[in-house]
Amino acid sequence: MVDVTPADAVPPAEVGEVELYHPHSWWTKYVFSQDAKVIAVQYSATATAIGLVALVLSWLMRLQLGFPGTFDFITPEAYYQFITMHGMIMVIYLLTALFLGGFGNYLIPLMVGARDMVFPYVNMLSYWIYLLAVLVLVSSFFAPGGPTGAGWTLYPPQAIMTGTPGGQDWGIILMLSSLILFIIGFTMGGLNYVVTVLQGRTRGMTLMRLPLTVWGIFTATVMALLAFPALFVACVMMLLDRALGTSFFMPAIVEMGQQLQHNGGSPILFQHLFWFFGHPEVYIVALPAFGIVSDLISTHARKNIFGYRMMVWAIIAIGALSFVVWAHHMYVSGMNPYFGFFFATTTLIIAVPTAIKVYNWVLTLWRGDIHLTTPMLFALAFIVTFVNGGLTGLFLGNVVVDVPLSDTMFVVAHFHMVMGVAPILVIFGAIYHWYPKVTGRMLDETLGKFHFWVTFLGAYLIFFPMHYLGLMGVPRRYAELTDMTIMTESAHHLNSFISIMAFIVGFAQMVFLFNLIWSIRHGREAGGNPWRATTLEWQTPQTPPAHGNFGKELPIVYRWAYDYSVPGAKEDFIPQNVPGDFAPSRESA
């Protein structure tokens, strides 16, 4: 049946070999490692650790909101610090670092058929600078005055004033320094991810044969490289305002009867810079999720991805469009109404490529051989959640709807659904999917199902009621709402309910962590390709893949990544490195 055409018989020697750095000691093998797989695990572990801190912070916030006045140690200042650090950690230090630093490092070299990243030393530096950024961030918890409480957007002038926790103490300085370090570290890693996809691909791996995971991470990295400088500029300028007394963002201001030395600065300038980074950031997190979920769905439904080309084009279109929508976060900042019209239009246009992706996922499932494994459950939950959060995004994209809803719980519910819950569901799915490759053992399926159902249903029970609270007019960022007329009895009950659900969902994550650690030793042996998947990372000679990823010879790619259930083939999947033509039309010819 395998019909090897002459063109397939390419001598493997034509694949260029790369010089690999070989570790000489335990330290260079596991700590200061230049192997992308080790760096990926380091990134993931650090991101998970700091993510747990953010999870605890969200519990503390919910304690205050659900049971106001019960806990004395949660002062309004502390509450502001909790929301600020929770938001910043989750968006940047967890999601960005985990998707690009974790999955990017692990999957790019393996999926494109490379031995390692193209600049391994720079890659190692990237992780250590990221770790330094995290440590600086954590140190702000122990600094005098505590961490900054300026809100994750760090808007001046309040971010650096006395009334804001950390504003005139160390908090804001450490926050800005940590962000600057993160951006420097990320740029080093990002160069690697982009150039490895460009130059590290093995023979036969054309761009249109890349798995969508790589497309997603690649495009997101390009966007991040171009968007993070905006945050860098904003952080440097604010640091100068705070530390040296310049007036980039700080207007003339009287604080407690005293005229500050600042004069004439523009807070709107900061908002422009911040959101020029901030909006692409949403898609920096979403695009890797889109890519990964496409691969999960295709693999676990045993069906080729529907409309691969459209998926690629949509990823590129979303990436490009996301740079011209930033001001939809600033409808209430008093900018020119014509700008609002322009940005509302571009915002709504993004719904088109995004909807194409959703249709394609659903059509991939259509009449597929769906295996409801844990990764698949998470992937399906992602589609539902993303559609949900995306639809409220269409509400908020319109100026007239956004203005009354701005700064209410509705916004909190929207962005948690679309860029909190949805990407996290993909991260879980991806961990259940690739854990067998990383460790050689499967995660426990029963615990996985428990984790899934509690997380999925719990997240809805947390964030759905928030939409209603928002529509009632309950504002976000308020530590104490007891005396407000909008806070009816039922609204208070709803808040308590949300808090209890938040604890239950948080508990389910502990089960997940236990599963992660327990399965390293006690999980079922996975074998090389437990999901019977086609992409190259499942075709490595060893599991977990050894240093250099593939054996003596790099694989040669003969087909795209989605040859599932090909008619006439012996098995229901054909790996990318298997030569031959299984198309029935040619077989009969």
């Binding site: 055409t5 063109a7 397939d8 390419v10 193209v118 600049f119 740029t187 160069l191 982009v194 150039v195 460009l198 130059q199 590290g200 691909r201 023979r203 036969g204 791996m205 054309t206 761009l207 249109m208 044969r209 490289l225 171009l226 400088p229 905006a230 860098f232 500029v233 440097v236 300028m237 100068l240 040296l244 007394g245 310049t246 007036s247 980039f248 030395q261 004439g264 600065g265 523009s266 300038l269 422009h272 810079l273 020029f276 691969y308 080309r309 690629v312 084009w313 590129i316 490009a320 740079f323 040669i556 003969y558 087909r559 795209w560 989605y562 040859d563 030569p579 031959g580 033509d581 198309a583």
Partner: protein
């Protein structure tokens, strides 16, 4: 924000041109095997390090475009008072041009395999670059001496911020130049040395270009130029 949007349009144009050569309209589900016409699309013939540096320079360009955007937005506010640029900056510009020329000569020499000329070019470039940095610091001292301190006006703040940022990038480049020079004196492999020298030259030319843009911006010519463009458009 128009400067950064224009910069990104340039990047998008370049990315679009590159993507248009990548057969994005291919139907991969119909194409098995390793047909000869795929091979050309595998990877670029350029050295990987050069592509890496190119991507990095795009990020650096983005950074300075954003500073420029912020500069223009802040400039429109009423408290802005431009500062007189020290004459010394002209000399510094000349010195930086000289270092770029020296590196270009080193590239030519490396291609011809003349190791002595490579060393001469690298040494000249290193010295002139150091002279540029010293000159910039002297310009700073001159300005602060005349009372144009960092905090007294946003124009001053931007001057120190942008020139300082450019200086830091030059300083980082000197690390690369230092490593290349060590290789040139310790007998690195010719092809490896050639690549390092070419990378240095690429970085220096780019930073020279950035400096010329910054100079035009700080001197106020860029604003005049944009005003003329705006008048032509309206």
């Amino acid at each position: 924000m128009s400067v950064i949007v224009v910069f990104l349009l340039v990047i998008a144009g370049f990315a679009g041109w590159w993507l248009s050569h990548q057969r994005l309209t291919a139907k991969p589900w119909l194409e098995q095997g390793l047909a000869g016409d795929f091979v050309g699309f595998d990877r670029s013939a350029l050295p990987t390090a050069k592509i890496g540096l190119g991507v990095f320079l795009a990020v650096v360009g983005c950074l300075f475009s954003l500073f420029t955007s912020a500069y223009f937005m802040r400039m429109g506010l009423p408290d802005w008072q431009s500062l007189p640029l020290p004459r010394l900056l002209w000399l510094n510009t000349g010195v930086l041009v000289l270092s770029s020329v020296a590196l270009q000569c080193a590239v030519v020499a490396a291609r011809k395999g003349q190791i002595d000329n490579v060393r001469l070019g690298l040494a000249t470039a290193g010295l002139t670059t150091l002279a540029f940095l010293v000159g910039q610091l002297m310009a700073w001292r001159q300005l602060t001496g005349d009372g144009y301190v960092l905090t007294s006006n946003p124009a001053n703040s931007f001057f120190y911020l942008i020139t300082g940022m450019h200086g830091l990038h030059i300083l980082g480049g000197l690390v690369g130049l230092g490593r290349t020079s060590i290789g040139a004196w310790n007998g690195a492999r010719p092809e490896r040395l050639r690549l390092s020298v070419e990378l240095c030259a690429m970085y220096w030319h780019f930073l020279l270009f950035v400096w010329l843009c910054i100079f035009a911006l700080l001197a106020g010519w860029a604003a005049t130029f944009i005003d003329i463009c705006r008048q032509l458009l309206t």
